[in-house]
Protein backbone atom coordinates (compact mmCIF):
# COMPACT_ATOMS: atom_id res chain seq x y z
CA UNK A 1 0.00 0.00 0.00
CA UNK A 2 1.19 3.48 -0.76
CA UNK A 3 1.68 5.95 2.00
CA UNK A 4 0.60 8.81 -0.24
CA UNK A 5 -2.64 10.55 0.53
CA UNK A 6 -4.73 12.09 -2.18
CA UNK A 7 -6.20 15.51 -1.60
CA UNK A 8 -9.61 16.11 -3.03
CA UNK A 9 -8.81 18.59 -5.81
CA UNK A 10 -11.16 19.68 -8.52
CA UNK A 11 -9.85 20.85 -11.89
CA UNK A 12 -13.09 22.48 -13.03
CA UNK A 13 -15.81 23.93 -10.76
CA UNK A 14 -18.32 22.65 -13.31
CA UNK A 15 -17.73 19.22 -11.74
CA UNK A 16 -19.65 20.44 -8.71
CA UNK A 17 -22.71 21.78 -10.58
CA UNK A 18 -25.92 21.01 -8.68
CA UNK A 19 -28.02 18.46 -10.52
CA UNK A 20 -30.98 20.67 -11.50
CA UNK A 21 -28.56 23.11 -13.18
CA UNK A 22 -26.69 20.23 -14.74
CA UNK A 23 -29.92 18.89 -16.23
CA UNK A 24 -30.74 22.26 -17.76
CA UNK A 25 -27.22 22.50 -19.18
CA UNK A 26 -27.55 19.02 -20.66
CA UNK A 27 -30.87 19.88 -22.27
CA UNK A 28 -29.50 23.05 -23.89
CA UNK A 29 -26.44 21.23 -25.15
CA UNK A 30 -28.48 18.29 -26.39
CA UNK A 31 -30.52 20.63 -28.57
CA UNK A 32 -27.33 22.19 -29.88
CA UNK A 33 -25.92 18.78 -30.68
CA UNK A 34 -29.03 17.68 -32.52
CA UNK A 35 -28.83 20.89 -34.55
CA UNK A 36 -25.12 20.27 -35.23
CA UNK A 37 -25.75 16.85 -36.77
CA UNK A 38 -28.85 17.80 -38.73
CA UNK A 39 -26.97 17.50 -42.04
CA UNK A 40 -25.05 14.34 -41.18
CA UNK A 41 -26.68 11.79 -43.54
CA UNK A 42 -27.21 9.06 -40.95
CA UNK A 43 -28.83 11.43 -38.44
CA UNK A 44 -30.70 13.43 -41.06
CA UNK A 45 -32.44 10.27 -42.20
CA UNK A 46 -33.03 8.97 -38.67
CA UNK A 47 -34.48 12.29 -37.50
CA UNK A 48 -36.70 12.45 -40.54
CA UNK A 49 -38.07 8.97 -39.82
CA UNK A 50 -38.61 9.80 -36.15
CA UNK A 51 -39.97 13.26 -37.04
CA UNK A 52 -37.46 14.86 -34.67
CA UNK A 53 -35.73 18.22 -34.82
CA UNK A 54 -33.73 20.20 -32.27
CA UNK A 55 -36.93 22.08 -31.42
CA UNK A 56 -38.88 18.93 -30.67
CA UNK A 57 -36.55 18.25 -27.75
CA UNK A 58 -38.38 19.73 -24.78
CA UNK A 59 -36.94 17.59 -22.01
CA UNK A 60 -34.20 15.07 -21.43
CA UNK A 61 -36.85 12.37 -21.73
CA UNK A 62 -36.99 13.16 -25.43
CA UNK A 63 -33.52 11.66 -25.74
CA UNK A 64 -35.19 8.28 -25.93
CA UNK A 65 -36.90 9.28 -29.18
CA UNK A 66 -33.51 9.82 -30.82
CA UNK A 67 -31.82 6.97 -32.71
CA UNK A 68 -29.03 4.82 -31.37
CA UNK A 69 -25.70 4.90 -33.16
CA UNK A 70 -23.63 1.73 -33.47
CA UNK A 71 -20.13 0.84 -34.59
CA UNK A 72 -21.67 -0.70 -37.69
CA UNK A 73 -23.32 2.64 -38.52
CA UNK A 74 -19.95 4.38 -38.29
CA UNK A 75 -18.44 1.67 -40.50
CA UNK A 76 -21.20 1.97 -43.06
CA UNK A 77 -20.34 5.63 -43.46
CA UNK A 78 -16.60 5.10 -43.74
CA UNK A 79 -14.44 7.14 -43.98
CA UNK A 80 -15.93 10.45 -42.86
CA UNK A 81 -19.70 10.15 -43.19
CA UNK A 82 -20.26 11.35 -39.62
CA UNK A 83 -18.19 14.51 -39.96
CA UNK A 84 -20.36 17.44 -38.86
CA UNK A 85 -18.01 20.31 -39.75
CA UNK A 86 -16.20 21.33 -42.96
CA UNK A 87 -13.00 19.34 -43.48
CA UNK A 88 -10.92 22.47 -43.03
CA UNK A 89 -12.02 22.72 -39.42
CA UNK A 90 -10.64 19.31 -38.55
CA UNK A 91 -7.46 19.88 -36.56
CA UNK A 92 -6.64 16.21 -36.05
CA UNK A 93 -7.72 12.67 -36.84
CA UNK A 94 -7.47 9.80 -34.44
CA UNK A 95 -8.78 6.32 -35.11
CA UNK A 96 -10.15 3.25 -33.48
CA UNK A 97 -10.16 -0.40 -34.47
CA UNK A 98 -12.96 -1.31 -36.83
CA UNK A 99 -14.71 -4.65 -36.95
CA UNK A 100 -12.98 -5.19 -40.31
CA UNK A 101 -9.73 -3.97 -41.78
CA UNK A 102 -10.92 -0.37 -41.88
CA UNK A 103 -10.58 1.75 -38.73
CA UNK A 104 -13.19 4.20 -37.43
CA UNK A 105 -11.87 7.72 -37.89
CA UNK A 106 -12.42 10.17 -35.03
CA UNK A 107 -11.96 13.82 -36.08
CA UNK A 108 -11.37 16.73 -33.67
CA UNK A 109 -11.74 20.48 -34.15
CA UNK A 110 -9.49 22.81 -32.21
CA UNK A 111 -12.38 23.25 -29.82
CA UNK A 112 -12.70 19.47 -29.39
CA UNK A 113 -8.99 19.14 -28.61
CA UNK A 114 -9.35 21.85 -26.00
CA UNK A 115 -12.35 20.13 -24.42
CA UNK A 116 -10.55 16.81 -24.51
CA UNK A 117 -7.53 18.18 -22.69
CA UNK A 118 -9.80 19.57 -19.97
CA UNK A 119 -11.68 16.30 -19.55
CA UNK A 120 -8.46 14.35 -19.12
CA UNK A 121 -7.16 17.00 -16.75
CA UNK A 122 -10.23 16.45 -14.58
CA UNK A 123 -9.46 12.83 -13.73
CA UNK A 124 -5.73 13.38 -13.56
CA UNK A 125 -6.25 16.11 -10.96
CA UNK A 126 -8.87 14.16 -9.02
CA UNK A 127 -6.29 11.36 -9.05
CA UNK A 128 -3.56 13.43 -7.43
CA UNK A 129 -1.75 15.13 -10.34
CA UNK A 130 -0.13 18.47 -9.56
CA UNK A 131 1.71 20.86 -11.89
CA UNK A 132 5.03 20.07 -10.21
CA UNK A 133 4.72 16.36 -11.08
CA UNK A 134 6.35 14.50 -13.96
CA UNK A 135 4.12 12.07 -15.85
CA UNK A 136 5.46 9.08 -17.79
CA UNK A 137 3.04 8.16 -20.58
CA UNK A 138 3.55 4.60 -21.82
CA UNK A 139 0.65 4.58 -24.26
CA UNK A 140 1.08 4.38 -28.01
CA UNK A 141 1.24 7.76 -29.70
CA UNK A 142 -0.54 7.60 -33.02
CA UNK A 143 -4.10 7.16 -34.15
CA UNK A 144 -4.76 5.56 -30.78
CA UNK A 145 -6.38 8.17 -28.53
CA UNK A 146 -4.65 7.02 -25.31
CA UNK A 147 -1.24 8.59 -25.89
CA UNK A 148 -2.22 11.99 -27.21
CA UNK A 149 -5.31 12.20 -25.00
CA UNK A 150 -3.41 11.79 -21.74
CA UNK A 151 -0.60 13.96 -23.10
CA UNK A 152 -3.04 16.82 -23.66
CA UNK A 153 -4.50 16.37 -20.18
CA UNK A 154 -1.11 16.43 -18.48
CA UNK A 155 -0.10 19.59 -20.33
CA UNK A 156 -3.42 21.20 -19.42
CA UNK A 157 -2.67 20.57 -15.74
CA UNK A 158 0.74 22.11 -16.31
CA UNK A 159 2.69 19.03 -15.30
CA UNK A 160 5.76 17.65 -17.10
CA UNK A 161 5.27 14.99 -19.77
CA UNK A 162 7.61 12.18 -20.69
CA UNK A 163 6.11 10.82 -23.95
CA UNK A 164 7.67 7.37 -23.56
CA UNK A 165 5.08 5.80 -25.91
CA UNK A 166 4.86 2.01 -26.19
CA UNK A 167 7.40 -0.79 -26.22
CA UNK A 168 10.97 -1.46 -25.12
CA UNK A 169 10.17 -1.98 -21.48
CA UNK A 170 13.80 -1.95 -20.35
CA UNK A 171 14.12 1.53 -21.77
CA UNK A 172 10.89 2.54 -20.04
CA UNK A 173 12.33 1.42 -16.69
CA UNK A 174 15.49 3.39 -17.36
CA UNK A 175 13.44 6.51 -18.10
CA UNK A 176 11.33 6.02 -14.98
CA UNK A 177 14.48 5.78 -12.93
CA UNK A 178 16.52 8.55 -14.49
CA UNK A 179 13.74 11.11 -14.89
CA UNK A 180 12.13 10.09 -11.58
CA UNK A 181 8.55 10.34 -12.86
CA UNK A 182 5.89 10.76 -10.17
CA UNK A 183 3.01 9.43 -12.21
CA UNK A 184 2.67 6.48 -14.59
CA UNK A 185 0.09 6.29 -17.37
CA UNK A 186 -0.39 2.97 -19.19
CA UNK A 187 -2.57 -0.14 -19.23
CA UNK A 188 -2.86 -2.04 -15.94
CA UNK A 189 -1.18 -5.11 -17.43
CA UNK A 190 1.70 -3.00 -18.70
CA UNK A 191 2.19 -1.59 -15.21
CA UNK A 192 2.78 -5.15 -14.00
CA UNK A 193 5.08 -5.77 -16.96
CA UNK A 194 7.14 -2.72 -16.02
CA UNK A 195 7.40 -4.04 -12.46
CA UNK A 196 8.49 -7.44 -13.72
CA UNK A 197 11.12 -6.08 -16.09
CA UNK A 198 12.39 -3.73 -13.37
CA UNK A 199 12.92 -6.71 -11.10
CA UNK A 200 14.72 -8.58 -13.86
CA UNK A 201 17.02 -5.56 -14.15
CA UNK A 202 17.80 -5.84 -10.45
CA UNK A 203 15.56 -2.94 -9.40
CA UNK A 204 12.84 -2.94 -6.78
CA UNK A 205 9.77 -1.34 -8.40
CA UNK A 206 9.12 0.34 -5.03
CA UNK A 207 12.38 2.26 -5.42
CA UNK A 208 11.04 4.13 -8.43
CA UNK A 209 9.79 7.62 -7.67
CA UNK A 210 6.24 6.77 -8.76
CA UNK A 211 3.45 7.94 -6.48
CA UNK A 212 0.37 7.43 -8.61
CA UNK A 213 -0.71 5.56 -11.70
CA UNK A 214 -3.60 6.31 -14.04
CA UNK A 215 -4.49 3.06 -15.73
CA UNK A 216 -7.00 2.30 -18.46
CA UNK A 217 -7.65 1.18 -22.05
CA UNK A 218 -8.50 -2.30 -20.83
CA UNK A 219 -10.73 -3.71 -18.09
CA UNK A 220 -9.09 -4.65 -14.80
CA UNK A 221 -10.22 -5.93 -11.41
CA UNK A 222 -9.88 -4.68 -7.84
CA UNK A 223 -7.54 -7.61 -7.24
CA UNK A 224 -5.29 -6.33 -9.98
CA UNK A 225 -5.33 -2.88 -8.43
CA UNK A 226 -4.25 -4.32 -5.10
CA UNK A 227 -1.50 -6.28 -6.82
CA UNK A 228 -0.20 -3.29 -8.80
CA UNK A 229 -0.23 -1.02 -5.74
CA UNK A 230 1.57 -3.61 -3.64
CA UNK A 231 4.23 -4.33 -6.24
CA UNK A 232 4.91 -0.77 -7.21
CA UNK A 233 4.22 1.19 -4.04
CA UNK A 234 1.80 3.66 -5.58
CA UNK A 235 -1.91 4.52 -5.74
CA UNK A 236 -3.61 3.32 -8.89
CA UNK A 237 -6.60 5.10 -10.42
CA UNK A 238 -9.03 3.89 -13.05
CA UNK A 239 -10.23 5.92 -16.01
CA UNK A 240 -12.49 5.10 -18.92
CA UNK A 241 -13.24 6.35 -22.37
CA UNK A 242 -13.65 5.33 -25.97
CA UNK A 243 -12.40 6.99 -29.13
CA UNK A 244 -15.79 7.30 -30.77
CA UNK A 245 -17.09 9.36 -27.83
CA UNK A 246 -13.88 11.36 -27.33
CA UNK A 247 -11.12 9.01 -26.12
CA UNK A 248 -9.95 8.91 -22.50
CA UNK A 249 -11.73 11.51 -20.38
CA UNK A 250 -15.26 10.17 -20.44
CA UNK A 251 -14.98 9.16 -16.79
CA UNK A 252 -12.39 8.74 -14.05
CA UNK A 253 -11.98 8.06 -10.35
CA UNK A 254 -11.83 10.69 -7.63
CA UNK A 255 -9.93 10.43 -4.34
CA UNK A 256 -12.65 8.21 -2.91
CA UNK A 257 -12.07 5.63 -5.68
CA UNK A 258 -15.55 4.17 -5.49
CA UNK A 259 -16.58 4.32 -9.13
CA UNK A 260 -15.62 6.64 -11.99
CA UNK A 261 -17.32 10.04 -12.30
CA UNK A 262 -18.83 10.50 -15.75
CA UNK A 263 -18.37 14.04 -17.11
CA UNK A 264 -22.09 14.64 -17.46
CA UNK A 265 -21.78 18.25 -18.59
CA UNK A 266 -20.16 16.85 -21.74
CA UNK A 267 -21.89 13.47 -22.09
CA UNK A 268 -25.34 12.12 -21.34
CA UNK A 269 -25.04 8.54 -20.18
CA UNK A 270 -27.68 5.83 -20.38
CA UNK A 271 -27.49 2.26 -19.12
CA UNK A 272 -29.61 -0.09 -21.20
CA UNK A 273 -30.42 -3.74 -21.59
CA UNK A 274 -28.24 -5.04 -24.45
CA UNK A 275 -31.17 -6.85 -26.06
CA UNK A 276 -34.22 -4.68 -25.47
CA UNK A 277 -32.34 -1.35 -25.36
CA UNK A 278 -34.60 -0.26 -22.51
CA UNK A 279 -33.05 1.43 -19.46
CA UNK A 280 -32.06 -0.96 -16.67
CA UNK A 281 -33.10 -0.22 -13.07
CA UNK A 282 -30.63 2.14 -11.32
CA UNK A 283 -27.64 0.28 -9.96
CA UNK A 284 -27.98 -2.68 -12.30
CA UNK A 285 -25.45 -3.58 -14.96
CA UNK A 286 -26.25 -2.73 -18.54
CA UNK A 287 -24.72 -1.46 -21.74
CA UNK A 288 -23.40 2.08 -21.52
CA UNK A 289 -24.71 4.49 -24.13
CA UNK A 290 -23.26 8.01 -24.54
CA UNK A 291 -24.53 11.14 -26.24
CA UNK A 292 -21.89 13.84 -26.71
CA UNK A 293 -22.97 17.35 -25.74
CA UNK A 294 -20.03 19.53 -26.74
CA UNK A 295 -18.19 17.67 -29.49
CA UNK A 296 -18.07 19.54 -32.76
CA UNK A 297 -16.32 17.50 -35.43
CA UNK A 298 -18.07 14.21 -34.83
CA UNK A 299 -20.89 14.39 -32.31
CA UNK A 300 -22.52 11.03 -31.60
CA UNK A 301 -26.03 10.45 -30.36
CA UNK A 302 -26.84 7.49 -28.14
CA UNK A 303 -23.66 5.67 -29.12
CA UNK A 304 -23.77 2.05 -28.03
CA UNK A 305 -20.43 1.31 -26.42
CA UNK A 306 -21.08 -2.44 -25.95
CA UNK A 307 -19.37 -2.03 -22.58
CA UNK A 308 -21.29 -3.44 -19.61
CA UNK A 309 -21.19 -1.54 -16.32
CA UNK A 310 -23.49 -0.28 -13.58
CA UNK A 311 -24.31 3.36 -12.74
CA UNK A 312 -24.45 4.70 -9.18
CA UNK A 313 -26.25 8.03 -8.84
CA UNK A 314 -25.76 8.34 -5.06
CA UNK A 315 -23.89 11.48 -3.95
CA UNK A 316 -20.13 11.02 -3.63
CA UNK A 317 -18.24 12.28 -0.56
CA UNK A 318 -15.86 14.12 -2.90
CA UNK A 319 -18.60 16.66 -3.67
CA UNK A 320 -18.81 16.02 -7.38
CA UNK A 321 -22.43 15.78 -8.44
CA UNK A 322 -21.90 13.50 -11.42
CA UNK A 323 -23.05 9.88 -11.62
CA UNK A 324 -20.40 7.25 -11.11
CA UNK A 325 -19.93 4.11 -13.20
CA UNK A 326 -18.53 0.87 -11.87
CA UNK A 327 -15.80 -1.05 -13.63
CA UNK A 328 -16.56 -2.39 -17.06
CA UNK A 329 -17.36 -6.06 -16.48
CA UNK A 330 -17.91 -7.33 -19.99
CA UNK A 331 -19.10 -6.59 -23.53
CA UNK A 332 -22.30 -7.20 -25.42
CA UNK A 333 -20.34 -8.05 -28.53
CA UNK A 334 -17.35 -10.22 -29.29
CA UNK A 335 -14.68 -7.54 -29.18
CA UNK A 336 -11.51 -8.44 -27.30
CA UNK A 337 -9.07 -6.10 -25.63
CA UNK A 338 -5.56 -7.46 -25.92
CA UNK A 339 -2.61 -5.49 -24.54
CA UNK A 340 -4.91 -2.48 -24.62
CA UNK A 341 -5.72 -2.95 -28.30
CA UNK A 342 -9.31 -3.52 -29.48
CA UNK A 343 -9.54 -6.63 -31.62
CA UNK A 344 -12.58 -8.11 -33.30
CA UNK A 345 -12.56 -11.79 -34.31
CA UNK A 346 -13.92 -10.62 -37.66
CA UNK A 347 -10.63 -8.82 -38.24
CA UNK A 348 -8.78 -12.13 -37.87
CA UNK A 349 -11.23 -13.65 -40.32
CA UNK A 350 -10.57 -10.80 -42.74
CA UNK A 351 -6.82 -11.40 -42.48
CA UNK A 352 -7.28 -15.08 -43.29
CA UNK A 353 -9.55 -14.24 -46.20
CA UNK A 354 -6.91 -11.92 -47.59
CA UNK A 355 -4.20 -14.54 -47.36
CA UNK A 356 -6.08 -17.64 -48.37
CA UNK A 357 -9.05 -16.49 -50.40
CA UNK A 358 -11.48 -18.28 -48.15
CA UNK A 359 -11.41 -18.41 -44.37
CA UNK A 360 -10.62 -21.78 -42.84
CA UNK A 361 -11.68 -22.67 -39.32
CA UNK A 362 -9.72 -20.72 -36.77
CA UNK A 363 -9.63 -20.22 -33.02
CA UNK A 364 -8.30 -17.23 -31.13
CA UNK A 365 -6.77 -18.27 -27.83
CA UNK A 366 -6.04 -15.47 -25.37
CA UNK A 367 -4.09 -15.89 -22.17
CA UNK A 368 -2.09 -13.86 -19.71
CA UNK A 369 0.51 -16.33 -18.39
CA UNK A 370 2.63 -13.56 -16.84
CA UNK A 371 1.92 -9.82 -16.93
CA UNK A 372 1.07 -9.39 -20.61
CA UNK A 373 -1.66 -10.77 -22.84
CA UNK A 374 -0.62 -13.38 -25.37
CA UNK A 375 -2.62 -14.45 -28.37
CA UNK A 376 -2.36 -17.63 -30.41
CA UNK A 377 -4.43 -17.89 -33.56
CA UNK A 378 -4.92 -21.56 -34.45
CA UNK A 379 -5.66 -22.00 -38.15
CA UNK A 380 -6.73 -25.29 -39.67
CA UNK A 381 -4.73 -26.44 -42.68
CA UNK A 382 -7.06 -27.64 -45.40
CA UNK A 383 -5.96 -29.84 -48.34
CA UNK A 384 -5.90 -26.78 -50.60
CA UNK A 385 -3.60 -24.94 -48.18
CA UNK A 386 -1.11 -27.76 -47.83
CA UNK A 387 1.80 -28.41 -50.15
CA UNK A 388 4.93 -30.51 -49.93
CA UNK A 389 7.27 -27.51 -49.92
CA UNK A 390 8.37 -26.56 -46.44
CA UNK A 391 9.30 -23.04 -47.53
CA UNK A 392 5.85 -22.48 -48.95
CA UNK A 393 4.14 -23.64 -45.77
CA UNK A 394 6.47 -21.42 -43.79
CA UNK A 395 5.61 -18.55 -46.11
CA UNK A 396 1.90 -19.20 -45.59
CA UNK A 397 2.43 -19.11 -41.83
CA UNK A 398 4.36 -15.85 -42.10
CA UNK A 399 1.83 -14.23 -44.43
CA UNK A 400 -0.98 -14.93 -41.96
CA UNK A 401 1.20 -13.46 -39.19
CA UNK A 402 1.87 -10.29 -41.17
CA UNK A 403 -1.71 -9.83 -42.34
CA UNK A 404 -3.06 -10.11 -38.81
CA UNK A 405 -0.49 -7.53 -37.71
CA UNK A 406 -1.42 -5.24 -40.59
CA UNK A 407 -5.14 -5.38 -39.88
CA UNK A 408 -5.18 -5.41 -36.08
CA UNK A 409 -1.84 -3.84 -35.15
CA UNK A 410 -1.26 -6.82 -32.88
CA UNK A 411 1.54 -9.39 -32.94
CA UNK A 412 0.13 -12.88 -32.47
CA UNK A 413 1.45 -16.43 -32.66
CA UNK A 414 0.03 -18.32 -35.59
CA UNK A 415 -0.32 -22.06 -35.07
CA UNK A 416 -1.15 -24.18 -38.11
CA UNK A 417 -3.20 -27.15 -36.99
CA UNK A 418 -4.67 -30.24 -38.54
CA UNK A 419 -8.20 -30.09 -39.89
CA UNK A 420 -11.18 -31.03 -37.75
CA UNK A 421 -9.21 -30.35 -34.58
CA UNK A 422 -10.87 -27.07 -33.70
CA UNK A 423 -14.23 -27.24 -32.01
CA UNK A 424 -17.23 -27.10 -34.26
CA UNK A 425 -20.55 -26.02 -32.90
CA UNK A 426 -24.13 -25.72 -33.99
CA UNK A 427 -24.90 -22.24 -35.20
CA UNK A 428 -22.33 -19.59 -34.36
CA UNK A 429 -18.83 -21.02 -34.29
CA UNK A 430 -16.84 -20.56 -31.11
CA UNK A 431 -14.05 -18.30 -32.27
CA UNK A 432 -12.47 -17.27 -29.01
CA UNK A 433 -11.13 -19.03 -25.93
CA UNK A 434 -10.19 -16.45 -23.30
CA UNK A 435 -8.25 -17.97 -20.41
CA UNK A 436 -8.12 -14.62 -18.65
CA UNK A 437 -11.78 -15.03 -17.77
CA UNK A 438 -11.18 -18.41 -16.13
CA UNK A 439 -8.28 -16.91 -14.22
CA UNK A 440 -10.50 -14.09 -12.99
CA UNK A 441 -8.17 -11.50 -14.43
CA UNK A 442 -10.94 -9.92 -16.49
Amino acid sequence: MSEFVIENRVHDPAELTPRPQLAKLQLDRLRQTVARVAEVPFYKEAFRKAKMTADSIRSLDDLRRLPFTTKADLRDHYPLGFLAVPRGQVARFHGSSGTTGKPTFCPYTRGDLNTWADLCARFLVSGGLRPEHTVHIAFGYGLFTGGFGLHGGVERVGATVVPAAAGNTQRQVMLLQDLAADVLVCTPSYALQIAEVARSMGLAPHDLALKFAHLGAEPWTEDMRTQIEAEMGLLAFNNYGLSEVIGPGVSGECAVRNGMHIQEDHFIVECVDGETLEPVPPGESGELVFTTLTKQAMPVIRYRTRDIAALDPAPCPCGRTSVRMGRVVGRTDDMLIIRGVNVFPSQIEEALLKVEGTAPHYLIEVDRPAAMDEVTVHVEVRPQDFCDKLSQMQALHDRIDREILAITGLRVSVNLVEPQTLERSMGKAKRVVDHRKEKGIL
Binding site: V381, R382, K389, L390, Q394, H397
Partner: protein
Protein backbone atom coordinates in the same frame (compact mmCIF):
# COMPACT_ATOMS: atom_id res chain seq x y z
CA UNK B 1 10.04 -43.61 -63.79
CA UNK B 2 8.67 -41.52 -60.99
CA UNK B 3 7.56 -42.74 -57.58
CA UNK B 4 4.53 -41.44 -55.71
CA UNK B 5 5.42 -39.98 -52.33
CA UNK B 6 2.82 -38.99 -49.78
CA UNK B 7 3.31 -35.82 -47.73
CA UNK B 8 1.40 -35.50 -44.47
CA UNK B 9 0.99 -32.25 -42.54
CA UNK B 10 1.96 -32.57 -38.89
CA UNK B 11 0.85 -30.12 -36.26
CA UNK B 12 3.42 -29.19 -33.66
CA UNK B 13 1.87 -31.19 -30.84
CA UNK B 14 2.98 -34.31 -28.96
CA UNK B 15 1.72 -37.48 -30.60
CA UNK B 16 1.14 -36.00 -34.02
CA UNK B 17 3.69 -38.34 -35.55
CA UNK B 18 2.30 -41.55 -34.12
CA UNK B 19 -1.24 -40.90 -35.29
CA UNK B 20 -0.66 -41.29 -39.07
CA UNK B 21 1.76 -44.15 -38.44
CA UNK B 22 -0.85 -45.87 -36.33
CA UNK B 23 -3.49 -45.41 -39.00
CA UNK B 24 -1.26 -47.01 -41.62
CA UNK B 25 -0.31 -49.87 -39.32
CA UNK B 26 -3.97 -50.65 -38.68
CA UNK B 27 -4.67 -50.66 -42.41
CA UNK B 28 -1.81 -53.04 -43.00
CA UNK B 29 0.21 -50.55 -45.02
CA UNK B 30 3.94 -51.00 -44.80
CA UNK B 31 6.08 -47.88 -44.88
CA UNK B 32 9.06 -48.40 -47.21
CA UNK B 33 10.81 -45.26 -46.16
CA UNK B 34 10.06 -41.91 -44.63
CA UNK B 35 11.58 -38.53 -43.96
CA UNK B 36 10.59 -35.75 -41.62
CA UNK B 37 11.00 -32.08 -42.35
CA UNK B 38 10.14 -29.77 -39.54
CA UNK B 39 10.15 -26.20 -38.36
CA UNK B 40 9.37 -24.87 -34.91
CA UNK B 41 5.74 -24.51 -35.82
CA UNK B 42 4.84 -27.62 -37.80
CA UNK B 43 6.24 -30.59 -39.74
CA UNK B 44 5.84 -32.47 -43.00
CA UNK B 45 6.19 -36.24 -43.01
CA UNK B 46 7.11 -37.75 -46.35
CA UNK B 47 6.31 -41.41 -46.92
CA UNK B 48 6.82 -43.95 -49.61
CA UNK B 49 4.52 -46.94 -49.36
CA UNK B 50 3.53 -49.75 -51.68
CA UNK B 51 -0.11 -48.95 -52.20
CA UNK B 52 -0.13 -45.18 -52.12
CA UNK B 53 -3.75 -44.85 -53.10
CA UNK B 54 -4.90 -47.01 -50.21
CA UNK B 55 -2.59 -45.17 -47.83
CA UNK B 56 -3.85 -41.80 -48.99
CA UNK B 57 -7.44 -42.88 -48.49
CA UNK B 58 -7.01 -44.24 -44.96
CA UNK B 59 -4.98 -41.19 -43.92
CA UNK B 60 -7.49 -38.76 -45.37
CA UNK B 61 -10.40 -40.64 -43.80
CA UNK B 62 -8.61 -40.38 -40.46
CA UNK B 63 -8.53 -36.60 -40.86
CA UNK B 64 -4.97 -36.09 -42.04
CA UNK B 65 -4.05 -33.58 -44.72
CA UNK B 66 -2.18 -35.49 -47.41
CA UNK B 67 -0.64 -34.52 -50.73
CA UNK B 68 0.92 -36.70 -53.45
CA UNK B 69 4.24 -35.70 -54.91
CA UNK B 70 6.33 -37.33 -57.58
CA UNK B 71 9.88 -38.21 -56.62
CA UNK B 72 12.66 -40.07 -58.34
CA UNK B 73 14.41 -43.17 -56.97
CA UNK B 74 18.02 -43.61 -58.02
CA UNK B 75 20.26 -46.58 -57.48
CA UNK B 76 23.84 -45.86 -56.44
CA UNK B 77 26.86 -47.95 -55.49
CA UNK B 78 26.72 -48.73 -51.81
CA UNK B 79 30.27 -47.65 -51.10
CA UNK B 80 32.04 -44.43 -50.11
CA UNK B 81 31.65 -41.98 -52.99
CA UNK B 82 28.41 -43.53 -54.23
CA UNK B 83 26.36 -40.51 -53.29
CA UNK B 84 29.03 -37.94 -54.19
CA UNK B 85 29.31 -39.24 -57.75
CA UNK B 86 25.58 -39.08 -58.31
CA UNK B 87 25.43 -35.57 -56.89
CA UNK B 88 28.16 -34.49 -59.28
CA UNK B 89 26.19 -35.78 -62.23
CA UNK B 90 23.09 -33.97 -61.02
CA UNK B 91 24.87 -30.69 -60.37
CA UNK B 92 26.72 -30.75 -63.68
CA UNK B 93 23.38 -31.12 -65.43
CA UNK B 94 22.15 -28.11 -63.44
CA UNK B 95 19.24 -30.02 -61.99
CA UNK B 96 17.99 -28.46 -58.75
CA UNK B 97 17.48 -30.80 -55.78
CA UNK B 98 14.74 -29.69 -53.45
CA UNK B 99 15.38 -32.44 -50.92
CA UNK B 100 16.56 -36.05 -50.78
CA UNK B 101 16.69 -38.97 -48.43
CA UNK B 102 17.67 -42.64 -48.49
CA UNK B 103 15.63 -45.81 -48.61
CA UNK B 104 15.91 -48.07 -45.64
CA UNK B 105 16.89 -51.12 -47.65
CA UNK B 106 19.35 -52.04 -50.39
CA UNK B 107 18.95 -53.71 -53.73
CA UNK B 108 21.77 -56.23 -53.76
CA UNK B 109 24.89 -54.22 -53.18
CA UNK B 110 23.29 -50.99 -54.30
CA UNK B 111 21.68 -48.29 -52.18
CA UNK B 112 18.52 -46.50 -53.23
CA UNK B 113 18.10 -42.76 -52.84
CA UNK B 114 14.98 -40.64 -53.22
CA UNK B 115 15.21 -37.21 -54.85
CA UNK B 116 12.65 -34.48 -55.18
CA UNK B 117 13.35 -32.34 -58.26
CA UNK B 118 11.39 -29.27 -59.34
CA UNK B 119 10.84 -30.86 -62.73
CA UNK B 120 10.99 -34.64 -62.22
CA UNK B 121 10.28 -35.49 -65.87
CA UNK B 122 13.18 -33.59 -67.37
CA UNK B 123 15.41 -34.68 -64.48
CA UNK B 124 14.71 -38.34 -65.25
CA UNK B 125 15.49 -37.81 -68.95
CA UNK B 126 18.78 -36.11 -68.19
CA UNK B 127 19.86 -38.65 -65.59
CA UNK B 128 19.12 -41.64 -67.80
CA UNK B 129 21.04 -39.99 -70.63
CA UNK B 130 24.02 -39.83 -68.26
CA UNK B 131 23.70 -43.52 -67.47
CA UNK B 132 22.19 -43.14 -64.00
CA UNK B 133 19.98 -46.03 -62.97
CA UNK B 134 16.57 -44.60 -62.26
CA UNK B 135 14.32 -47.20 -60.73
CA UNK B 136 10.63 -47.33 -61.39
CA UNK B 137 7.94 -48.27 -58.90
CA UNK B 138 7.45 -51.83 -60.05
CA UNK B 139 11.09 -52.68 -59.61
CA UNK B 140 11.20 -50.91 -56.27
CA UNK B 141 8.18 -52.53 -54.76
CA UNK B 142 9.05 -55.97 -56.03
CA UNK B 143 11.99 -55.90 -53.70
CA UNK B 144 10.22 -55.36 -50.42
CA UNK B 145 7.85 -57.85 -48.92
Amino acid sequence: MKIKQLSVFLENKPGRLSEPCGVLAKAGVNILTLSLADTQQFGIMRLIVRDWEKAMKVLTDAGCVVKVTEVVAIEVEDRPGGLAEILEVIETASINIEYMYAFTFRRGDKAVLVFRFDDPDSAVKELQAKGVNVIDGVELYSHSS
